[in-house]
């Protein structure tokens, strides 16, 4: 369920969530599909960890 937004909201429900490889807070490269290892995932996008 998505509140009415005026901006795009990315991959649609039912589509494959694109994989990523990004560095975590320890500087380790994390690949989403590997880290998820077949489990469900909650992926949250935050505006900033600084402000």
């Amino acid at each position: 369920m998505i509140a009415e937004t005026t901006h795009p909201t990315g991959p649609a429900v039912g589509t494959l969530f694109p994989d990523f490889t990004l560095p975590d807070q320890h500087g380790q490269q994390v690949t989403f599909s590997t880290a998820r290892a077949g489990r469900k995932a909650i992926v949250t996008f935050i505006r900033s960890t600084d402000w």
Binding site: T5, T9, G10, L22, K40, T49
Partner: protein
């Protein structure tokens, strides 16, 4: 979300957070809040762009340039998006546990705020989380249980009937959403040719608290007014006050 992490894990979820900040910034953030799940740095915003959630409305020289539209995806075990939560306002943010409960039906343990038990009715106020940051929206629910063979009234009711009302008192800087009542049952009233809305058994009234411009601990007082009746008689109307504390966490 860290405080809910073990519950999310026991429900089979892994958790990931992404921001446009540098690794060092995320490291400081994760340490400060004792976050154990991955906080990932998309410094170039390349992944945000790939997903299509790069916020293009920020000027290139502003501090905000590079941020994504904030939101959350729930990904199923097969890797597909099962749900997503994005907010209408880029400013007021639902507590994660509120979003998960309201939009996805994922019910993590709620912080009990306050409870009261009387002879014919008991009520518990549950908050999704008992701490706030500014611009956070926290869902609340009043779970009410009525004694067997009794009911309370909904609205609207004819003169002489006392409807059930829930009022939430909060200090300036906090806004109340709700109360939202469930659909009542209809009871035929013998001496009137009408039906009146009633609640019986267990039901829930819900709403939210929006913490806007306030920087100190808050007490929210929930006042429930009701009248319990059997099919034949009514008890005197009653009023119950429950006070629920919500702590301010400036660095959450």
């Amino acid at each position: 979300m860290q405080s809910k992490l073990s519950e999310l894990a026991s429900e089979g979820f892994t958790v990931f957070a992404l921001s446009y900040d540098a690794i060092e910034t995320n490291e400081a953030f994760a340490e400060e809040h004792r976050i154990s799940y991955p906080v990932l740095s998309d410094r170039e915003s390349s992944y945000f762009r790939e997903l299509g959630i790069f916020n293009e409305t920020n000027a290139i020289d502003s501090r905000s340039y590079g941020v994504p539209w904030p939101g959350t995806y729930v990904v199923d075990s097969d890797g597909t998006v099962s749900s997503k939560i994005f907010h209408e306002s880029n400013y007021v943010r639902d507590a994660t546990s509120t979003s998960l409960r309201e939009q996805l039906g994922i019910n993590l343990s709620q912080e009990h705020g306050a409870e009261w038990t009387g002879d014919r009715l008991s009520v518990a106020i549950l908050l999704d989380i008992d701490t706030f940051v500014r611009q956070r929206r926290i869902g609340w629910r009043a779970q009410i249980a009525i004694a067997d063979d009794m009911h309370v009234y909904g609205s609207p009711v004819p003169d002489g009937f006392i409807p059930t009302e829930l009022t939430v008192y909060v200090p300036d800087g906090v806004r109340v959403a709700g109360p939202d009542f469930p659909r009542p049952s209809l009871l035929a009233v013998p001496f009137m040719e009408a039906t009146v809305p009633v609640y019986s058994g267990v039901f829930e009234i819900s709403g939210a608290l929006i913490f806007e411009d306030i920087r100190e601990d808050v007490e929210a007082t929930f006042t429930l007014r009701y009248q319990t009746c059997t099919d034949n008689e009514c008890f005197a109307p009653e009023e119950v006050h429950l006070t629920v504390p919500v702590r301010y966490e400036p660095f959450a």
